[in-house]
């Protein structure tokens, strides 16, 4: 109850502050473009990491051991890779064309109409699905942390986030994300150290696993090379196509802010990921020794959390809440922007100056996500495929190639944005039927989208605004 009241109070204060300061679309969608490297970097890390890192990651370690690290092995590269490959061109485009949204980047590059519209549809579908998965995830974690009150926790967190995001957009959202990123990093370091200490230290934990569960130290384990390498590429290259990462480049004050952004992003990311390794290693060792009794590896993190002191449990709850709220705030704003700004622009209508529609769209996105999450777990799981994989399949070729190759054409980009997700959804359907299980749907969709984009662009089409030409014109 105390946490809930504090949360409501903080959300209200932040909402009021954001309402006063976010007076126009630039303030609401792009935090008035005032972010420096620390705020944008911490915000990017916080928005990109969900509660899965605290709950699901350690469970995966307990289940498949170090093979789970293929998901996070690309972490040192992703911050710099994003800045090199997409951050620098996006910051330049944002200045040249006053771009405020992720679909707007595609419109600035390929022209108005279909590119912006298709990207907006992908952001709305994928964003609401990812929001629903966050809500569902926190409901499950809340049952463990608060004892059968998971949905109450989910409602409180989404409600609080919706409050300040509706009132202040990303002006309020980015400030909260900066704080949440720091909280997550600090909490992860403390919690990981405590659990490793409980297991007798890293060396003792490693020795225990080596002696009692050596299969967990197999780098491929039951996952196999195909899936493991797919994880490496999907979570490495895929970061260049995630709207909640790309959005942060629209918020930075200038190109110089990019210089230290990878350092902040990577530092924050690695700090938070210590909980994956610390909980995984320590918890698995305790499990192997029989000191921790759980019925399945998925219960590893919850069981470890319940064994903590009340103060540490509170810290863990706050960290999980921060992870969920930061991701939700960005997704709510992205969906609201796509609905209230990008869809009208794609249809040829200029959006008005009023922030009433974006605020209503934020509320609508939260309602849709809550309704979807409250439905059956199956429907959430089905729509969850419209998350990371769909963003990768739909946006990676058009964004990554389009921003680095002036020959990429409008027709090629539109073809890739239709063909990529179509192939991904087809493969997801086949997976559910037990077929084509060796093909990772998101990556295969992106690979096919790349071939479509290059093929159609090479077929001598007109259209597409050359990035180089734009830059020269501005210079």
């Amino acid at each position: 109850v105390t946490l809930g009241v504090l949360l409501l109070l903080a959300a209200t204060l932040l909402g009021v502050w954001g309402f006063v300061h976010a007076r126009d679309a630039t303030g609401f969608f792009a935090a008035s473009r005032r972010a420096g490297p620390i705020l944008a970097g911490l915000g990017g890390t916080a928005a990109g990491l969900s509660a899965f890192v605290f709950i699901g990651g350690p469970g995966l370690f307990g289940s498949i051991g170090i093979a789970s690290l293929w998901i996070i092995l690309s972490a040192p590269l992703t911050g710099a890779l994003q800045c090199w490959a997409v951050g620098e061109p996006v910051v330049r485009l944002a200045r040249l064309r006053s771009t405020l949204t992720v679909p707007g980047i595609l419109a600035a590059r390929y022209g108005e109409g279909a590119p912006r519209g298709l990207a907006a549809v992908a952001v709305i579908a994928g964003g609401i699905a990812m929001l629903a998965v966050q809500v569902k995830g926190v409901a499950v974690a809340g049952d463990v942390l608060l004892g059968e009150k998971g949905w109450l926790m989910a409602l409180a967190l989404l409600g609080g986030t919706t409050l300040y995001t509706t009132a202040g957009g990303m002006r309020a959202g980015l400030l909260a994300e900066g704080f949440q990123g720091l909280l997550m990093a600090g909490a992860a370091l403390i919690l990981a150290s405590v659990v490793l200490a409980k297991a007798g230290g890293p060396a003792a934990a490693l020795n225990t696993i080596h002696e009692l569960r050596p299969a967990l130290l197999d780098p491929w384990n039951a996952v196999g090379p195909s899936t493991a390498l797919a994880w490496l590429l999907l979570f490495g290259l895929g970061t260049c196509a995630q709207p909640h990462y790309l959005q942060k480049f629209l918020l930075v004050r200038d190109e110089k802010a990019l210089r230290w952004m990878p350092m902040v992003m990577t530092g924050g990311l690695l700090a938070v990921l210590t909980v994956w390794i610390g909980f995984g290693l320590g918890g698995t060792a305790l499990m192997a020794r029989g000191a921790l009794e759980i019925s399945s590896p998925e219960q590893l993190a919850p069981a470890l959390l319940l064994g903590l002191s009340p103060a540490l449990l509170l810290l863990a709850t706050a960290a999980v809440a921060a992870a969920v709220m930061s991701t939700a705030a960005t997704l709510l704003n992205l969906v609201a922007a796509a609905f209230s700004r990008d869809l009208p622009l794609a249809a040829g209508h200029a959006p008005g100056e009023s922030l009433a529609l974006p605020r209503l769209a934020t509320l609508g996105a939260a309602g849709a996500a809550m309704a979807l999450a409250a439905g059956s777990g199956r429907s959430v799981a089905l729509l969850g495929i419209l998350g990371w994989g769909t963003f990768t399949a739909a946006l990676l070729p058009a964004i990554l190639l389009g921003l680095n190759w002036r020959g990429a054409s409008r027709r090629g980009a539109v073809g890739a944005m239709i063909g990529g997700p179509a192939i991904q959804l087809l493969l997801e359907g086949l997976h559910r039927a037990g077929m084509a299980t060796g093909l990772e749907p998101g990556l295969t969709g992106a690979a096919m989208g790349t071939l479509i984009l290059v093929g159609l662009s090479r077929a001598k089409t007109a259209g597409g605004t050359g990035l180089g030409q734009e830059t020269e014109a501005a210079g």
Partner: protein
């Protein structure tokens, strides 16, 4: 120019074809190569936007990163060795990479020459 941006489609198609062939025919060497190229080469595209000296510095760092990643994958190959050393190697790669790669980026960006006009 080490890898100019007009080579971007060639690289992208190469990575896509390697990835698709590797996964369809279960040829893990191809999949692994696609993973390394796919992760490292987009950063090389960015070299086309910088001056010669910066490109050399960045290329050296990225080549080293790619080499370590490739060597890591090759070392894992036959017989799935397993064991403590693999885990420690992964932790080492995470730690060193997390420090070195962002520093590599900061070395040039914002120093007056990059991102270029």
């Amino acid at each position: 120019m080490i890898l100019p941006m007009n080579r971007a489609p060639l690289v992208a198609v190469l990575v896509a074809m390697l990835w698709l062939s590797g996964t369809v025919f279960q040829l893990y060497a191809l999949t692994g190569t696609a993973a390394v190229l796919g992760l490292v080469l987009p950063a090389f595209w960015a070299l086309g936007r910088r001056t010669a000296a910066t490109r050399r510095a960045l290329a050296s760092g990225l080549a080293a990163t790619g080499f370590v990643l490739a060597a890591f994958l090759v070392a894992l190959w036959p017989g799935n060795p397993g064991g403590t050393w693999v885990f420690l190697l992964e932790l080492l790669a995470l730690s060193v990479g997390a420090l070195a790669i962002p520093l590599l980026y900061a070395m040039t960006t914002g120093s007056g020459e990059g991102p270029p006009r």
